[in-house]
Protein backbone atom coordinates (compact mmCIF):
# COMPACT_ATOMS: atom_id res chain seq x y z
CA UNK A 1 0.00 0.00 0.00
CA UNK A 2 1.47 3.35 -1.02
CA UNK A 3 2.02 6.13 1.53
CA UNK A 4 -0.67 8.33 0.02
CA UNK A 5 -3.21 5.50 0.03
CA UNK A 6 -2.30 4.71 3.65
CA UNK A 7 -2.77 8.36 4.57
CA UNK A 8 -6.15 8.53 2.81
CA UNK A 9 -7.37 5.34 4.48
CA UNK A 10 -6.11 6.66 7.83
CA UNK A 11 -7.95 9.97 7.52
CA UNK A 12 -11.22 8.38 6.43
CA UNK A 13 -10.88 5.72 9.12
CA UNK A 14 -10.43 8.46 11.70
CA UNK A 15 -13.59 10.15 10.47
CA UNK A 16 -15.51 6.88 10.45
CA UNK A 17 -14.46 6.07 14.02
CA UNK A 18 -15.30 9.59 15.23
CA UNK A 19 -18.71 9.39 13.59
CA UNK A 20 -19.42 6.03 15.21
CA UNK A 21 -18.32 7.17 18.66
CA UNK A 22 -20.34 10.38 18.37
CA UNK A 23 -23.57 8.57 17.57
CA UNK A 24 -24.66 6.76 20.73
CA UNK A 25 -27.86 5.94 18.87
CA UNK A 26 -25.78 3.65 16.65
CA UNK A 27 -23.92 1.93 19.46
CA UNK A 28 -26.49 1.56 22.24
CA UNK A 29 -29.22 -0.36 20.34
CA UNK A 30 -26.62 -2.71 18.89
CA UNK A 31 -25.54 -3.52 22.44
CA UNK A 32 -28.87 -3.56 24.25
CA UNK A 33 -31.10 -5.34 21.73
CA UNK A 34 -28.95 -8.49 21.29
CA UNK A 35 -28.35 -8.75 25.04
CA UNK A 36 -32.07 -8.42 25.71
CA UNK A 37 -32.81 -11.24 23.25
CA UNK A 38 -30.03 -13.30 24.83
CA UNK A 39 -31.66 -12.92 28.24
CA UNK A 40 -35.10 -13.87 26.89
CA UNK A 41 -33.88 -16.85 24.85
CA UNK A 42 -31.53 -18.29 27.43
CA UNK A 43 -34.33 -18.15 30.00
CA UNK A 44 -37.12 -19.45 27.79
CA UNK A 45 -35.31 -22.14 25.83
CA UNK A 46 -33.05 -23.66 28.48
CA UNK A 47 -35.18 -26.84 28.34
CA UNK A 48 -33.57 -27.50 24.95
CA UNK A 49 -30.42 -28.59 26.76
CA UNK A 50 -32.30 -31.76 27.79
CA UNK A 51 -32.52 -32.87 24.15
CA UNK A 52 -30.28 -35.85 23.47
CA UNK A 53 -27.16 -34.66 21.65
CA UNK A 54 -27.39 -31.01 22.74
CA UNK A 55 -23.75 -29.93 22.97
CA UNK A 56 -23.87 -28.21 26.38
CA UNK A 57 -25.96 -28.11 29.51
CA UNK A 58 -25.87 -24.27 29.48
CA UNK A 59 -28.26 -22.76 26.98
CA UNK A 60 -26.78 -19.35 27.84
CA UNK A 61 -23.41 -20.52 26.51
CA UNK A 62 -25.08 -21.92 23.37
CA UNK A 63 -27.12 -18.74 22.80
CA UNK A 64 -24.20 -16.38 23.49
CA UNK A 65 -23.05 -16.86 19.88
CA UNK A 66 -26.19 -15.16 18.59
CA UNK A 67 -25.54 -11.57 19.79
CA UNK A 68 -22.31 -11.48 17.77
CA UNK A 69 -24.32 -12.14 14.63
CA UNK A 70 -27.06 -9.71 15.58
CA UNK A 71 -24.40 -7.10 16.26
CA UNK A 72 -22.94 -7.73 12.83
CA UNK A 73 -26.37 -7.13 11.31
CA UNK A 74 -26.42 -3.73 13.00
CA UNK A 75 -23.15 -2.95 11.26
CA UNK A 76 -24.88 -3.46 7.89
CA UNK A 77 -27.26 -0.71 8.89
CA UNK A 78 -24.73 1.59 10.50
CA UNK A 79 -22.07 1.46 7.80
CA UNK A 80 -24.71 1.64 5.08
CA UNK A 81 -26.71 4.54 6.49
CA UNK A 82 -23.55 6.54 7.16
CA UNK A 83 -22.48 6.20 3.53
CA UNK A 84 -26.02 6.78 2.24
CA UNK A 85 -26.10 10.01 4.23
CA UNK A 86 -22.84 11.06 2.59
CA UNK A 87 -24.43 10.43 -0.79
CA UNK A 88 -27.64 12.26 0.10
CA UNK A 89 -25.87 15.31 1.52
CA UNK A 90 -23.33 15.56 -1.29
CA UNK A 91 -20.38 14.78 1.02
CA UNK A 92 -19.40 11.98 -1.35
CA UNK A 93 -19.09 14.58 -4.12
CA UNK A 94 -16.81 16.61 -1.87
CA UNK A 95 -14.61 13.55 -1.41
CA UNK A 96 -14.80 12.83 -5.15
CA UNK A 97 -13.26 16.23 -5.87
CA UNK A 98 -10.11 15.28 -3.95
CA UNK A 99 -7.48 12.83 -5.23
CA UNK A 100 -9.17 10.18 -3.06
CA UNK A 101 -8.91 6.62 -4.34
CA UNK A 102 -11.99 4.43 -4.35
CA UNK A 103 -10.22 1.70 -2.37
CA UNK A 104 -9.33 4.20 0.35
CA UNK A 105 -12.93 5.37 0.61
CA UNK A 106 -14.33 1.88 1.12
CA UNK A 107 -11.59 0.75 3.50
CA UNK A 108 -11.78 3.94 5.53
CA UNK A 109 -15.53 3.69 5.86
CA UNK A 110 -15.23 0.20 7.35
CA UNK A 111 -13.03 1.46 10.18
CA UNK A 112 -16.15 2.48 12.07
CA UNK A 113 -17.40 -1.10 11.75
CA UNK A 114 -14.12 -2.35 13.26
CA UNK A 115 -14.63 -0.18 16.33
CA UNK A 116 -18.27 -1.16 16.61
CA UNK A 117 -17.37 -4.85 16.28
CA UNK A 118 -14.70 -4.51 18.94
CA UNK A 119 -16.98 -2.78 21.44
CA UNK A 120 -19.83 -5.20 20.77
CA UNK A 121 -17.66 -8.29 21.16
CA UNK A 122 -16.12 -7.18 24.44
CA UNK A 123 -19.49 -6.18 25.90
CA UNK A 124 -21.41 -9.30 24.78
CA UNK A 125 -18.71 -11.67 25.91
CA UNK A 126 -18.06 -9.92 29.23
CA UNK A 127 -21.73 -9.79 30.13
CA UNK A 128 -22.25 -13.38 28.97
CA UNK A 129 -19.40 -14.60 31.15
CA UNK A 130 -20.59 -12.57 34.13
CA UNK A 131 -24.05 -14.14 33.66
CA UNK A 132 -22.50 -17.60 33.87
CA UNK A 133 -21.67 -18.64 30.31
CA UNK A 134 -18.68 -20.95 29.74
CA UNK A 135 -15.60 -20.13 27.69
CA UNK A 136 -14.02 -23.50 27.03
CA UNK A 137 -11.01 -22.10 25.14
CA UNK A 138 -9.97 -19.89 28.07
CA UNK A 139 -8.39 -16.44 27.85
CA UNK A 140 -7.10 -17.03 24.35
CA UNK A 141 -10.65 -17.87 23.34
CA UNK A 142 -11.72 -14.40 24.45
CA UNK A 143 -9.33 -12.89 21.90
CA UNK A 144 -10.38 -15.37 19.22
CA UNK A 145 -14.04 -14.45 19.68
CA UNK A 146 -13.27 -10.72 19.58
CA UNK A 147 -11.25 -11.21 16.39
CA UNK A 148 -14.00 -13.29 14.78
CA UNK A 149 -16.65 -10.80 15.82
CA UNK A 150 -14.70 -7.89 14.29
CA UNK A 151 -14.19 -9.90 11.10
CA UNK A 152 -17.87 -10.74 10.79
CA UNK A 153 -18.91 -7.16 11.60
CA UNK A 154 -16.59 -5.73 8.95
CA UNK A 155 -17.72 -8.34 6.41
CA UNK A 156 -21.39 -7.51 6.96
CA UNK A 157 -20.52 -3.80 6.98
CA UNK A 158 -19.25 -4.16 3.42
CA UNK A 159 -22.72 -5.35 2.40
CA UNK A 160 -24.10 -2.18 3.98
CA UNK A 161 -21.68 -0.12 1.88
CA UNK A 162 -22.80 -1.93 -1.27
CA UNK A 163 -26.47 -1.34 -0.45
CA UNK A 164 -25.83 2.36 0.19
CA UNK A 165 -23.89 2.83 -3.04
CA UNK A 166 -26.44 0.89 -5.03
CA UNK A 167 -29.51 2.71 -3.69
CA UNK A 168 -28.12 6.01 -2.40
CA UNK A 169 -30.80 5.95 0.26
CA UNK A 170 -30.53 5.51 4.02
CA UNK A 171 -34.12 4.27 4.16
CA UNK A 172 -33.38 1.56 1.60
CA UNK A 173 -30.38 0.40 3.64
CA UNK A 174 -32.48 0.25 6.79
CA UNK A 175 -35.05 -1.76 4.84
CA UNK A 176 -32.44 -4.52 4.54
CA UNK A 177 -32.39 -5.11 8.28
CA UNK A 178 -35.47 -7.37 8.41
CA UNK A 179 -34.20 -9.30 5.39
CA UNK A 180 -30.93 -10.06 7.14
CA UNK A 181 -32.79 -10.96 10.29
CA UNK A 182 -34.66 -13.64 8.35
CA UNK A 183 -31.26 -15.11 7.42
CA UNK A 184 -30.41 -15.24 11.09
CA UNK A 185 -33.67 -16.95 12.03
CA UNK A 186 -33.27 -19.49 9.22
CA UNK A 187 -30.01 -20.74 10.72
CA UNK A 188 -28.86 -22.84 13.67
CA UNK A 189 -29.62 -19.85 15.89
CA UNK A 190 -31.89 -21.72 18.33
CA UNK A 191 -30.77 -25.34 17.89
CA UNK A 192 -27.75 -27.21 16.54
CA UNK A 193 -28.24 -28.26 12.90
CA UNK A 194 -28.42 -31.95 13.72
CA UNK A 195 -31.25 -31.42 16.20
CA UNK A 196 -33.51 -29.47 13.83
CA UNK A 197 -36.36 -31.88 13.08
CA UNK A 198 -38.17 -30.05 10.26
CA UNK A 199 -36.57 -31.14 7.00
CA UNK A 200 -36.97 -27.91 4.97
CA UNK A 201 -35.76 -25.81 7.88
CA UNK A 202 -32.73 -28.02 8.40
CA UNK A 203 -31.94 -27.90 4.66
CA UNK A 204 -32.05 -24.11 4.62
CA UNK A 205 -30.12 -23.78 7.85
CA UNK A 206 -27.48 -26.19 6.53
CA UNK A 207 -27.04 -24.09 3.40
CA UNK A 208 -27.05 -20.83 5.37
CA UNK A 209 -23.48 -19.55 6.02
CA UNK A 210 -24.73 -17.86 9.18
CA UNK A 211 -25.05 -21.32 10.76
CA UNK A 212 -21.30 -21.87 10.33
CA UNK A 213 -20.44 -18.46 11.70
CA UNK A 214 -22.53 -19.28 14.77
CA UNK A 215 -20.82 -22.65 15.00
CA UNK A 216 -17.40 -20.98 14.95
CA UNK A 217 -18.33 -18.82 17.96
CA UNK A 218 -19.87 -21.83 19.71
CA UNK A 219 -16.83 -24.00 19.15
CA UNK A 220 -14.71 -21.57 21.17
CA UNK A 221 -17.35 -21.17 23.85
CA UNK A 222 -18.40 -24.83 24.21
CA UNK A 223 -15.70 -27.12 22.84
CA UNK A 224 -12.40 -25.28 23.23
CA UNK A 225 -10.04 -25.02 20.28
CA UNK A 226 -11.51 -26.53 17.11
CA UNK A 227 -9.30 -25.17 14.37
CA UNK A 228 -11.55 -26.48 11.61
CA UNK A 229 -14.70 -24.75 12.90
CA UNK A 230 -12.82 -21.54 13.62
CA UNK A 231 -11.11 -21.50 10.23
CA UNK A 232 -14.45 -22.06 8.52
CA UNK A 233 -15.90 -19.07 10.44
CA UNK A 234 -13.01 -16.78 9.52
CA UNK A 235 -13.12 -18.13 5.96
CA UNK A 236 -16.81 -17.33 5.56
CA UNK A 237 -16.24 -13.84 7.01
CA UNK A 238 -13.38 -13.31 4.54
CA UNK A 239 -15.51 -14.55 1.64
CA UNK A 240 -18.43 -12.27 2.59
CA UNK A 241 -15.98 -9.35 2.92
CA UNK A 242 -14.43 -10.10 -0.47
CA UNK A 243 -17.83 -10.35 -2.17
CA UNK A 244 -19.13 -7.28 -0.34
CA UNK A 245 -16.11 -5.19 -1.27
CA UNK A 246 -16.23 -6.38 -4.87
CA UNK A 247 -19.89 -5.46 -5.16
CA UNK A 248 -19.32 -2.16 -3.34
CA UNK A 249 -16.36 -1.28 -5.62
CA UNK A 250 -18.48 -1.92 -8.67
CA UNK A 251 -21.37 0.13 -7.27
CA UNK A 252 -18.95 2.94 -6.37
CA UNK A 253 -17.74 3.09 -9.96
CA UNK A 254 -21.34 3.52 -11.10
CA UNK A 255 -22.13 6.02 -8.36
CA UNK A 256 -18.98 8.11 -8.81
CA UNK A 257 -18.97 8.91 -12.48
CA UNK A 258 -16.13 11.41 -12.16
CA UNK A 259 -14.01 11.46 -15.30
Amino acid sequence: MSASLRSQVGQLARRSVLRTLRQPAQIVPSLVFPLFLLAVNSGGLKGATNLPGFPTDSYLTFALAVPFMQGALFSVMNAGTDLARDIETGFLNRLALTPLRNAALLSGLLAGAVVLGLVQAVVYLSIGLIAGADLAAGAGGFLAIVALSVSVTVAFGSIGLFAALRTGSGEAVQGLFPVFFVFLFLSSMALPLELIQTDWFRAIATANPVSYLLQAFRSVLIEGWDVGELALGFGIAAAVLALGMLAASSALKTRLVRT
Partner: protein, 336 residues
Protein backbone atom coordinates in the same frame (compact mmCIF):
# COMPACT_ATOMS: atom_id res chain seq x y z
CA UNK B 1 -8.87 28.11 -29.41
CA UNK B 2 -7.08 26.89 -26.29
CA UNK B 3 -6.96 28.81 -23.08
CA UNK B 4 -3.37 30.05 -23.07
CA UNK B 5 -3.09 30.78 -19.39
CA UNK B 6 -3.90 27.63 -17.47
CA UNK B 7 -6.28 29.33 -15.08
CA UNK B 8 -9.21 29.87 -17.40
CA UNK B 9 -12.21 27.91 -18.63
CA UNK B 10 -13.15 27.20 -22.21
CA UNK B 11 -16.38 25.43 -23.11
CA UNK B 12 -17.49 24.37 -26.59
CA UNK B 13 -20.93 23.03 -27.52
CA UNK B 14 -21.32 21.34 -24.16
CA UNK B 15 -24.37 19.09 -23.90
CA UNK B 16 -25.80 16.95 -21.14
CA UNK B 17 -28.85 14.79 -21.68
CA UNK B 18 -30.47 12.71 -19.00
CA UNK B 19 -32.40 9.52 -19.72
CA UNK B 20 -36.02 10.24 -20.68
CA UNK B 21 -35.51 13.92 -19.98
CA UNK B 22 -34.87 17.12 -21.86
CA UNK B 23 -31.36 18.40 -22.53
CA UNK B 24 -30.35 19.89 -19.20
CA UNK B 25 -27.48 21.66 -20.96
CA UNK B 26 -27.98 22.24 -24.65
CA UNK B 27 -24.85 23.27 -26.52
CA UNK B 28 -23.20 25.89 -24.33
CA UNK B 29 -20.15 27.84 -25.50
CA UNK B 30 -18.36 30.09 -23.09
CA UNK B 31 -14.93 31.28 -22.10
CA UNK B 32 -13.78 32.56 -18.74
CA UNK B 33 -10.54 34.50 -18.63
CA UNK B 34 -7.95 33.94 -15.92
CA UNK B 35 -8.71 35.93 -12.76
CA UNK B 36 -12.21 36.75 -13.94
CA UNK B 37 -15.40 36.34 -11.89
CA UNK B 38 -17.95 34.84 -14.24
CA UNK B 39 -21.57 34.91 -13.08
CA UNK B 40 -23.76 32.14 -14.48
CA UNK B 41 -27.27 33.45 -13.99
CA UNK B 42 -30.53 31.62 -14.52
CA UNK B 43 -33.68 30.34 -12.83
CA UNK B 44 -33.94 27.00 -11.03
CA UNK B 45 -33.70 24.13 -13.47
CA UNK B 46 -32.00 26.22 -16.17
CA UNK B 47 -28.92 23.97 -16.30
CA UNK B 48 -26.50 25.90 -14.08
CA UNK B 49 -25.67 23.11 -11.63
CA UNK B 50 -25.44 20.49 -14.38
CA UNK B 51 -22.89 22.69 -16.13
CA UNK B 52 -20.89 23.01 -12.92
CA UNK B 53 -20.99 19.26 -12.33
CA UNK B 54 -19.58 18.71 -15.82
CA UNK B 55 -16.88 21.37 -15.49
CA UNK B 56 -15.81 19.94 -12.13
CA UNK B 57 -15.59 16.44 -13.72
CA UNK B 58 -18.34 14.96 -11.54
CA UNK B 59 -20.63 14.34 -14.51
CA UNK B 60 -19.44 13.36 -17.98
CA UNK B 61 -20.88 15.46 -20.81
CA UNK B 62 -23.06 13.82 -23.46
CA UNK B 63 -21.39 15.88 -26.18
CA UNK B 64 -19.11 18.86 -26.62
CA UNK B 65 -15.87 19.62 -24.85
CA UNK B 66 -14.43 21.81 -22.14
CA UNK B 67 -11.00 22.64 -20.85
CA UNK B 68 -10.58 23.80 -17.29
CA UNK B 69 -7.20 25.16 -16.22
CA UNK B 70 -5.96 23.94 -19.58
CA UNK B 71 -7.05 20.33 -19.01
CA UNK B 72 -9.75 18.40 -20.80
CA UNK B 73 -12.63 17.60 -18.44
CA UNK B 74 -13.13 14.12 -19.88
CA UNK B 75 -9.65 12.78 -20.52
CA UNK B 76 -7.79 14.68 -17.78
CA UNK B 77 -10.25 14.55 -14.88
CA UNK B 78 -7.69 14.10 -12.07
CA UNK B 79 -5.61 17.05 -13.34
CA UNK B 80 -8.71 19.23 -13.54
CA UNK B 81 -9.66 18.31 -9.98
CA UNK B 82 -6.21 19.13 -8.67
CA UNK B 83 -6.49 22.64 -10.16
CA UNK B 84 -9.99 23.52 -9.00
CA UNK B 85 -11.89 24.06 -5.79
CA UNK B 86 -15.64 23.75 -5.60
CA UNK B 87 -18.43 24.58 -3.23
CA UNK B 88 -21.42 22.80 -4.68
CA UNK B 89 -25.08 23.66 -4.26
CA UNK B 90 -25.63 22.23 -0.81
CA UNK B 91 -22.92 22.87 1.77
CA UNK B 92 -21.92 19.20 1.93
CA UNK B 93 -20.59 18.94 5.44
CA UNK B 94 -20.60 16.27 8.12
CA UNK B 95 -22.68 17.51 11.06
CA UNK B 96 -20.76 15.25 13.45
CA UNK B 97 -17.34 16.73 12.65
CA UNK B 98 -16.01 20.11 13.73
CA UNK B 99 -14.82 22.78 11.34
CA UNK B 100 -11.20 22.00 12.22
CA UNK B 101 -11.77 18.28 11.62
CA UNK B 102 -13.23 19.04 8.20
CA UNK B 103 -10.15 21.10 7.37
CA UNK B 104 -7.84 18.34 8.58
CA UNK B 105 -9.61 15.78 6.39
CA UNK B 106 -9.68 18.03 3.34
CA UNK B 107 -6.02 19.09 3.57
CA UNK B 108 -4.92 15.50 4.12
CA UNK B 109 -6.92 14.11 1.20
CA UNK B 110 -5.40 16.79 -1.03
CA UNK B 111 -1.96 15.58 -0.01
CA UNK B 112 -0.86 18.73 1.78
CA UNK B 113 2.21 17.85 3.87
CA UNK B 114 1.41 17.07 7.49
CA UNK B 115 3.51 19.96 8.84
CA UNK B 116 1.57 22.43 6.71
CA UNK B 117 -1.95 21.15 7.34
CA UNK B 118 -2.61 22.82 10.68
CA UNK B 119 -1.19 26.16 9.55
CA UNK B 120 -3.23 26.11 6.33
CA UNK B 121 -6.39 25.08 8.19
CA UNK B 122 -6.02 27.82 10.79
CA UNK B 123 -5.25 30.40 8.13
CA UNK B 124 -8.37 29.54 6.10
CA UNK B 125 -10.66 29.29 9.11
CA UNK B 126 -9.44 32.71 10.23
CA UNK B 127 -9.98 34.12 6.75
CA UNK B 128 -13.64 33.04 6.72
CA UNK B 129 -14.17 34.13 10.34
CA UNK B 130 -14.56 30.69 11.86
CA UNK B 131 -11.53 30.50 14.17
CA UNK B 132 -13.63 30.68 17.33
CA UNK B 133 -16.08 28.07 16.03
CA UNK B 134 -13.36 25.76 14.69
CA UNK B 135 -13.80 23.13 17.39
CA UNK B 136 -17.59 23.16 17.38
CA UNK B 137 -19.50 20.45 15.54
CA UNK B 138 -20.80 21.68 12.20
CA UNK B 139 -24.31 20.46 13.08
CA UNK B 140 -24.59 23.56 15.28
CA UNK B 141 -23.39 26.03 12.62
CA UNK B 142 -25.72 28.57 11.01
CA UNK B 143 -26.31 28.49 7.26
CA UNK B 144 -23.82 31.31 6.74
CA UNK B 145 -21.14 29.57 8.81
CA UNK B 146 -21.61 26.38 6.83
CA UNK B 147 -21.23 28.25 3.56
CA UNK B 148 -18.07 29.96 4.81
CA UNK B 149 -16.61 26.64 5.92
CA UNK B 150 -17.55 25.22 2.52
CA UNK B 151 -15.58 28.03 0.90
CA UNK B 152 -12.58 27.46 3.17
CA UNK B 153 -12.61 23.75 2.30
CA UNK B 154 -12.74 24.54 -1.40
CA UNK B 155 -9.61 26.69 -0.98
CA UNK B 156 -7.63 24.14 1.04
CA UNK B 157 -5.24 23.16 -1.75
CA UNK B 158 -4.84 26.67 -3.23
CA UNK B 159 -6.92 26.07 -6.37
CA UNK B 160 -6.44 28.27 -9.42
CA UNK B 161 -10.12 28.09 -10.33
CA UNK B 162 -13.03 28.17 -7.93
CA UNK B 163 -16.54 26.92 -8.73
CA UNK B 164 -19.28 28.25 -6.49
CA UNK B 165 -22.74 26.83 -7.12
CA UNK B 166 -25.35 29.19 -5.68
CA UNK B 167 -23.13 29.98 -2.71
CA UNK B 168 -25.49 32.45 -1.05
CA UNK B 169 -28.86 30.79 -1.53
CA UNK B 170 -30.77 30.93 1.73
CA UNK B 171 -28.32 33.26 3.44
CA UNK B 172 -29.24 36.50 5.19
CA UNK B 173 -27.97 39.70 3.64
CA UNK B 174 -25.05 40.06 6.10
CA UNK B 175 -23.73 36.58 5.41
CA UNK B 176 -24.27 37.11 1.71
CA UNK B 177 -22.33 40.37 1.69
CA UNK B 178 -19.47 38.83 3.70
CA UNK B 179 -19.20 35.99 1.19
CA UNK B 180 -19.26 38.41 -1.75
CA UNK B 181 -16.39 40.35 -0.19
CA UNK B 182 -14.33 37.22 0.26
CA UNK B 183 -14.96 36.02 -3.30
CA UNK B 184 -14.06 39.45 -4.71
CA UNK B 185 -10.89 39.46 -2.62
CA UNK B 186 -9.90 36.02 -3.87
CA UNK B 187 -10.15 37.15 -7.46
CA UNK B 188 -8.54 40.55 -6.95
CA UNK B 189 -5.69 39.62 -4.60
CA UNK B 190 -5.02 35.94 -5.27
CA UNK B 191 -5.88 35.92 -8.96
CA UNK B 192 -8.33 33.05 -8.56
CA UNK B 193 -10.72 32.55 -11.47
CA UNK B 194 -14.27 32.25 -10.14
CA UNK B 195 -17.18 30.54 -11.88
CA UNK B 196 -20.23 31.46 -9.86
CA UNK B 197 -23.78 30.28 -10.47
CA UNK B 198 -26.59 32.29 -9.00
CA UNK B 199 -30.28 32.98 -9.31
CA UNK B 200 -29.87 36.36 -7.63
CA UNK B 201 -29.68 39.28 -10.05
CA UNK B 202 -28.02 41.56 -7.53
CA UNK B 203 -25.35 38.94 -6.85
CA UNK B 204 -24.38 38.67 -10.50
CA UNK B 205 -24.58 42.44 -10.84
CA UNK B 206 -22.45 43.17 -7.79
CA UNK B 207 -19.84 40.47 -8.12
CA UNK B 208 -19.38 39.29 -11.68
CA UNK B 209 -16.99 40.81 -14.21
CA UNK B 210 -19.04 39.10 -16.88
CA UNK B 211 -22.39 37.35 -16.81
CA UNK B 212 -23.75 34.46 -18.82
CA UNK B 213 -27.52 34.08 -18.74
CA UNK B 214 -28.80 30.52 -19.12
CA UNK B 215 -32.36 29.40 -19.75
CA UNK B 216 -33.59 25.91 -20.62
CA UNK B 217 -30.00 24.75 -21.03
CA UNK B 218 -29.01 27.43 -23.54
CA UNK B 219 -26.84 30.48 -23.05
CA UNK B 220 -29.13 33.33 -24.07
CA UNK B 221 -26.89 36.31 -23.33
CA UNK B 222 -23.33 36.99 -22.27
CA UNK B 223 -21.32 40.10 -21.45
CA UNK B 224 -20.46 42.50 -18.67
CA UNK B 225 -23.50 43.49 -16.57
CA UNK B 226 -23.11 47.08 -17.81
CA UNK B 227 -22.93 46.05 -21.46
CA UNK B 228 -25.92 43.73 -21.16
CA UNK B 229 -28.00 46.45 -19.54
CA UNK B 230 -26.84 49.01 -22.08
CA UNK B 231 -27.98 46.61 -24.78
CA UNK B 232 -31.50 46.93 -23.39
CA UNK B 233 -30.97 50.66 -23.12
CA UNK B 234 -34.39 51.83 -22.16
CA UNK B 235 -35.74 52.26 -18.64
CA UNK B 236 -38.93 50.70 -17.36
CA UNK B 237 -41.76 52.52 -15.66
CA UNK B 238 -44.04 50.69 -13.27
CA UNK B 239 -47.37 52.18 -12.17
CA UNK B 240 -49.92 50.88 -9.69
CA UNK B 241 -53.52 52.18 -10.04
CA UNK B 242 -55.20 53.56 -6.93
CA UNK B 243 -58.35 51.67 -7.88
CA UNK B 244 -57.58 48.06 -8.89
CA UNK B 245 -60.53 48.23 -11.28
CA UNK B 246 -58.48 50.65 -13.41
CA UNK B 247 -55.79 48.03 -14.03
CA UNK B 248 -56.89 47.10 -17.56
CA UNK B 249 -57.33 50.78 -18.60
CA UNK B 250 -53.86 51.51 -17.24
CA UNK B 251 -52.44 48.65 -19.34
CA UNK B 252 -54.04 50.23 -22.43
CA UNK B 253 -52.67 53.70 -21.68
CA UNK B 254 -49.14 52.52 -20.92
CA UNK B 255 -49.10 50.36 -24.06
CA UNK B 256 -48.86 53.61 -26.05
CA UNK B 257 -45.38 54.26 -24.61
CA UNK B 258 -43.61 50.98 -25.29
CA UNK B 259 -43.60 47.22 -24.88
CA UNK B 260 -44.84 45.54 -21.68
CA UNK B 261 -42.31 44.81 -18.95
CA UNK B 262 -42.38 42.83 -15.73
CA UNK B 263 -44.15 44.42 -12.79
CA UNK B 264 -45.59 43.62 -9.37
CA UNK B 265 -48.93 41.74 -9.42
CA UNK B 266 -50.96 44.94 -8.85
CA UNK B 267 -48.84 47.09 -11.15
CA UNK B 268 -48.35 47.63 -14.85
CA UNK B 269 -44.89 47.84 -16.38
CA UNK B 270 -43.76 49.21 -19.68
CA UNK B 271 -40.32 49.67 -21.23
CA UNK B 272 -40.28 53.29 -22.37
CA UNK B 273 -39.53 53.44 -26.10
CA UNK B 274 -38.54 57.08 -25.80
CA UNK B 275 -36.49 56.80 -22.62
CA UNK B 276 -36.79 58.65 -19.32
CA UNK B 277 -38.11 61.85 -20.93
CA UNK B 278 -41.44 60.10 -21.53
CA UNK B 279 -42.19 59.82 -17.81
CA UNK B 280 -44.00 63.14 -17.69
CA UNK B 281 -46.08 62.18 -20.73
CA UNK B 282 -47.06 58.92 -19.01
CA UNK B 283 -48.30 60.82 -15.97
CA UNK B 284 -50.24 63.29 -18.13
CA UNK B 285 -51.83 60.48 -20.19
CA UNK B 286 -52.97 58.60 -17.09
CA UNK B 287 -54.31 61.85 -15.62
CA UNK B 288 -56.16 62.60 -18.84
CA UNK B 289 -57.86 59.20 -18.64
CA UNK B 290 -58.83 59.88 -15.03
CA UNK B 291 -56.73 57.06 -13.63
CA UNK B 292 -55.46 57.86 -10.14
CA UNK B 293 -51.94 56.59 -9.46
CA UNK B 294 -51.14 54.81 -6.21
CA UNK B 295 -47.45 54.37 -6.96
CA UNK B 296 -45.13 55.23 -9.83
CA UNK B 297 -41.52 54.14 -10.20
CA UNK B 298 -38.87 54.44 -12.86
CA UNK B 299 -36.41 51.50 -13.06
CA UNK B 300 -33.03 51.69 -14.74
CA UNK B 301 -32.44 48.60 -16.94
CA UNK B 302 -31.55 45.57 -14.85
CA UNK B 303 -30.30 42.08 -15.58
CA UNK B 304 -33.90 40.97 -15.13
CA UNK B 305 -34.78 43.22 -18.07
CA UNK B 306 -32.02 41.51 -20.02
CA UNK B 307 -33.46 38.11 -19.10
CA UNK B 308 -36.95 39.31 -20.03
CA UNK B 309 -35.78 40.61 -23.37
CA UNK B 310 -33.94 37.41 -24.22
CA UNK B 311 -36.50 34.88 -22.96
CA UNK B 312 -39.82 36.72 -22.85
CA UNK B 313 -40.10 36.06 -19.11
CA UNK B 314 -38.78 37.78 -16.03
CA UNK B 315 -36.30 35.77 -13.97
CA UNK B 316 -38.62 35.61 -10.95
CA UNK B 317 -41.56 34.72 -13.17
CA UNK B 318 -39.47 32.01 -14.79
CA UNK B 319 -38.80 30.44 -11.41
CA UNK B 320 -42.47 30.46 -10.49
CA UNK B 321 -43.33 28.93 -13.86
CA UNK B 322 -40.68 26.22 -13.37
CA UNK B 323 -42.04 25.43 -9.91
CA UNK B 324 -45.61 25.36 -11.23
CA UNK B 325 -44.59 23.04 -14.05
CA UNK B 326 -42.80 20.77 -11.57
CA UNK B 327 -45.88 20.68 -9.33
CA UNK B 328 -48.15 19.89 -12.27
CA UNK B 329 -45.78 17.16 -13.42
CA UNK B 330 -45.76 15.68 -9.92
CA UNK B 331 -49.57 15.74 -9.71
CA UNK B 332 -50.13 14.35 -13.20
CA UNK B 333 -51.06 10.65 -13.34
CA UNK B 334 -48.32 8.34 -14.61
CA UNK B 335 -48.77 7.10 -18.16
CA UNK B 336 -50.18 3.58 -18.30
Amino acid sequence: MAVENATGIEVQALVREFKNGPRAVDGIDLRVAPGEIYGFLGPNGAGKSTTVLMLTTLLPPTAGSARVAGFDIVSEGPRVRSAIGAALQEAALDPLLSGAEHMRLQTALHGIPKAERTRRSEELLARVGLSRAADRKVGGYSGGMKRRLDLALALAHRPRILFLDEPTTGLDIQSRTALWEEVARLAAEDGVTVFLTTQYLEEADALADRVGIIDHGKLVAEGTPAALKAEIGRPTVEAVPHDPADHERMVAVLARFGEPAGASPKGVGVRLAGGESQLAEVVRALDAEGIAIEHLQLHAPSLDDVFLTKTGRSLEGAEEAEEEAEEQAAEAPSPA
